[in-house]
Amino acid sequence: MGKKHIGKAWVFGHNINADAAITYSSKVSETYDMNELAKYCMVGYYPEFPKEAKKGDIIVAGKNFACGHLHPHFSISLRGVGIAAIIAESFSRRYYRDGLNEGMPLFEAESVLEKIHQGDEIELDFRKGNIHNLTSGVRLYANPLPEFLVDMVEAGGLIPYLKNKLTNSPRPCPQI
């Protein structure tokens, strides 16, 4: 994400089910391609999303975002569309892991749905956890993440992070 990011907010509700969001099925499961999966991104809740969402947009949600069984195709579809960050009141444990591992900046904050509305312009600083709603002026503060997880996301996710660590570390296989 870099230092600060500004993007448009797409607001969804509570308990967004990750499988339902991409109408996950045996057919969808066949590919892991980002561009193919982008076509399914959030369609279960808003069918026009892949057409209307732009690279750099931000998803905003209530509690338990991306709940349910969750397959990796969900996080891949978000990367495919180019979603830059997700702000939610809480994340499902599986997406908390998959999202961060895929390099998606996740902001967990209170009363998100009261403070951010559809189309608002949001400025984000991931390392500091600051959320600034430029449209309304309201500020929110995300629960802090450990440094290494912030480093991991800013490296682009688990894979680039491990690649850097292993090529740069004097020890053969450093622990994260």
């Binding site: 499988d19 069984h69 622990q175 994260i176």
Partner: protein, 422 residues
């Protein structure tokens, strides 16, 4: 203050004296289990990108070929081939191929890999089943790569919710119905990031199979995992099967729980999850009479020997309804053998059911009973999201083996407590 079993196990895996809910630690899993479908298309590429030629911990890694077996199409044939090559290239110690493998989320208990006191890491989510044996087990997705590269992975320590269960199940009502009721009360996020710790006389009286079912379904309430404190039953089960030693840790009497919920099953009714969400719970009275085209007994949430015994009691001497198909898929070869030895196969065949090889079966809509448009299925499987078993125009109801068997006979959703249960 005392600690919960979950806090104790995670502390041990983290190499720390103690851990606290909410903190993020790195843990070393005792066993890492890959279910075959991600290996060829994801892991191989990822490891190459990082520059890993040999995974860190092949002696504590297992690969199971069980999701779609035998390979139903070229895509899966490729995935299986890739998995076999991966096992060979990395010298993975534990490998179970077709004919010598069952659904990972049961089979790994039979093989003693899931056992009390350990940290069990899988890629697939329903690994939570193994909490039944008093270990911390869950699916961790891409973190498997972190384990392959470094031997450890990051984990947020969960709080615990205690679920106290007492009372005796009425005839026709099972652990599956109890779990559905609990999911209904908690809702999709009611146990977010918590461990559901099941306790009480009803849990103690439950078979290992029933405990596996309880712990399997917890993720639908957002839980990290489920767990049952190991008792004599658990220790006996694992002692017969585990090669490695194990430490049957239990919760301290003064451990802290974020909430305590009490259940009494004496007046519990059969419960059903209606389309298209596992927490969309109805009592049997609300859904009985719905036409059933396909009935399925199987999966890590209902294909154990105990489920087969319950189904056989209902199907004995009866026939599957002429407008309905009944598909039965045992979880493992051991279960399949048990069915053969107890004469259950004969009961099922004579009833007109079809029996499939130990595997996930039609659960994920790939083969062995794909649903067409307009069809309705009742199943003991794990999920009923729209299109899960085939057409987006089909519907899936989830229920206990008793309810599914009774419904297969009537051709419509049926209360197993009625005269079909003898």
């Amino acid at each position: 203050m005392g600690k919960t079993i979950s806090e104790k196990i995670i502390a041990r895996a983290a190499g720390k004296k103690e851990v606290f809910p909410g903190e993020i630690v790195t843990v070393k899993p005792d066993i890492t289990v890959c279910h075959e479908y991600f290996i060829a298309k994801r892991y191989v590429k990822m490891l190459k990108e990082i520059g890993i030629e040999k995974i860190r911990n092949p002696d504590a890694t297992a690969v199971v070929i069980e999701h779609r077996v035998p390979a139903p199409n070229e895509d899966f044939a490729g995935r299986h081939k890739g998995a076999r090559e991966f096992v060979k290239n990395h010298n993975i110690k534990y490998f179970y191929d077709l004919g010598r493998c069952g659904i990972g989320h049961h089979f790994m208990a039979e093989k003693g890999h899931a056992r009390p006191g350990i940290l069990y890491a899988a890629d697939d989510n329903h690994a939570t089943s193994f909490g039944a044996l008093g270990c911390i087990a869950a699916g961790y997705g891409m973190s498997i790569i972190e384990i392959f590269a470094t031997g450890r992975f990051w984990l947020k320590v969960p709080g615990s919710i205690r679920i106290e269960v007492s009372g005796k199940f009425p005839e026709g009502v099972t652990s599956r119905d109890l779990m559905q009721k609990i999911l209904s009360d908690l809702g999709a996020g009611g146990a977010l990031y918590k461990v559901l710790e099941f306790r009480g006389p009803t849990i103690e009286a439950m078979s290992i199979d029933s405990r596996l079912v309880m712990c399997n379904m917890v993720l639908h309430a957002g839980a990290k995992t489920g767990i049952v404190n190991p008792d004599e039953k658990t220790v006996q089960y694992s002692r017969k099967r585990a090669e490695q030693p194990f430490d049957a840790m239990t919760s301290d009497p003064d451990a802290h729980y974020d909430a305590v919920y009490e259940y009494n099953v004496s007046s519990l009714e059969p419960m059903v999850a209606a389309p298209h969400d596992p927490v969309n719970t109805k009592s049997i009275a609300q859904v009985k009479g719905v036409r059933v085209d396909q009935a399925f007994i199987g999966t890590c949430a209902g294909g154990h020997l105990e489920s087969m015994e319950i189904a056989a009691r209902i199907l004995k001497g009866k026939k599957v309804h002429p407008n309905t198909r009944l598909i039965i898929v045992p979880t493992t070869p051991e279960v399949y053998l048990g069915m053969a030895q107890q004469g259950l196969l004969e009961i099922f065949i004579e009833a007109g059911a079809v029996i499939g090889p130990p595997s996930c079966g039609p659960c994920s809509g790939g083969h062995m009973g794909v649903l067409g448009a307009g069809e309705i299925c009742i199943a003991t499987s794990t999920l009923n999201l729209k299109g899960r078993m085939g057409s987006a125009e089909s519907e899936i109801y989830l229920a206990s083996a008793a309810t599914v068997a009774a419904s297969a006979v009537r051709g419509e959703i049926t209360d197993p407590r009625e005269n079909y249960y003898s």
